[in-house]
Symmetry: none
């Protein structure tokens, strides 16, 4: 009875985007406002909705209006990511042909990057926009269908053609991974994204992996690279020594 009502409320809010307590009262005329209020409170605790004065809104709706969907992700471990991005930025030489992925760490790198002549290929809209502020950096955006969750393109047949193209050369791929375990390697959540990263790792002469310590032990569905595929690992101070040594044993530079 209670659970039933609560899931109906959740469904309604999800569908309508928002709902005032008054409207909610019309849907459930036999329960008091206090009860509905309590229900909203429970739903908020579960993270299903966001309570606002006057009623509640769906999580999506709040994100849509009060901030980019991207932000939640970028907000976490900001300091570590900036630290890593700065390290990576200092490793970039002039006149290099670089691939950068669409992740939040890559966005920080785009900000921290020195304004030196080089060419950057990326599938991230935010990354590309950020890089356009640099006078000397030529930016090339890989096209394709857009993933709305993180504003990145995923390789269409054409961009695969392009990225696989023998006449376009990537010297350095700088990639951030959302997950790593020694057994499963570097993995990500979307198959098409994994395809792109795999191609890029293969195509690039050097691969730098940016991996903050929060990613360790996580596994996502699609592995796109393993430790032995990369050349430099860029990470933060909290990265465990034991794991660092595993990389070093494979002749990977750890920074």
């Amino acid at each position: 009875m209670k659970r039933d009502r609560i899931s109906k409320i959740a469904e309604l809010i999800d569908k309508r985007g928002k709902l005032s307590l008054r409207q909610l009262g019309e849907y459930f005329p036999r329960v008091s406002q206090m009860t509905l209020r309590r229900d909203l409170f429970l739903l908020e605790e579960e993270g299903k909705i966001i309570r606002v004065r006057g009623g509640a809104m769906s999580v999506k709706d709040v994100q849509k209006t009060s901030g980019v969907p991207y932000t939640k992700k970028t907000a976490i471990y900001t300091d570590e990511k900036i630290e890593i991005a700065q390290k990576a930025g200092s490793l970039i030489d002039a006149n290099t042909s670089i691939f950068l992925d669409a992740g939040s760490t890559a966005l920080y790198l785009a900000k921290e990057m020195p304004d030196i002549p080089c060419t950057v290929f990326t599938n991230g809209l935010a990354v590309a926009t950020e890089l356009c502020k640099k006078q000397n950096v030529a930016v090339n955006l890989l096209g394709g269908p857009l993933l709305k969750e993180n504003l990145s393109t995923v390789p269409s047949p054409s961009s695969v053609y392009f990225t696989d193209n023998k006449d376009t050369n990537i010297e350095l791929a700088i990639i951030s991974s959302p997950a790593y375990t020694p057994e499963n390697g570097f993995s990500c959540a979307s198959q098409v994204e994994a395809d792109l990263l795999r191609i890029m790792c293969k195509k690039a002469k050097f691969t730098y992996m940016m991996l903050d310590s929060s990613k360790i032990g996580k596994i996502k569905p699609y592995t796109f690279a393993r430790a032995e595929d990369i050349h430099v690992l860029i990470t933060d101070d909290a990265f465990p020594e034991a794991l660092k040594n595993q990389f070093k044993e494979k002749n990977i530079v750890v920074m």
Copy 2:
């Protein structure tokens, strides 16, 4: 609901560029001016808008009028462009495959567009980002080197391959032109952009041209289409009747 109202205000200002307190009052007839004023104050504190005497402006709009080259372009004739974008938006049917260019009018169209199931191809980063807010619109960004002046990609060999691809179909191309004369047709400043638009006009079953009256009589280096290449002309009220008739004589619908 306060939260809801505030995000609606932010959205409106973002869409329209600027909004007077009076106009705002028309949108929210049930709240007092003082409350709206306070809302603007809050939004200003969050850095989402900039308050000016009589109302508020979007941050972008202020940046635009106060300097950058690209922006001047967008700031001028805003009302006409919104008018045209609204007309164009009302012409879009569900389940259409659409191409949209990277111009400022296209950006307004992206904002005004109904949230119906359809696929939009575009070479504009801002257009793509804006369209991502729509649940039902699938967005496909054409890749390529980025033009920093207007944050648009231009066709690389790969995207030409793609746009020329027989297996990707565009039903409707909605294009805005920076210049038109009867003699020189629709022209634009960059050769690569002209190449893309030309391909798109040819590829699309229908071409809608958005042309505000300020563009008449201007000539840019590269013509990408002529009057007879388009099917519908969408323009503002200030568009001269004589010119309208020239289009009508060629069986072009003028709106």
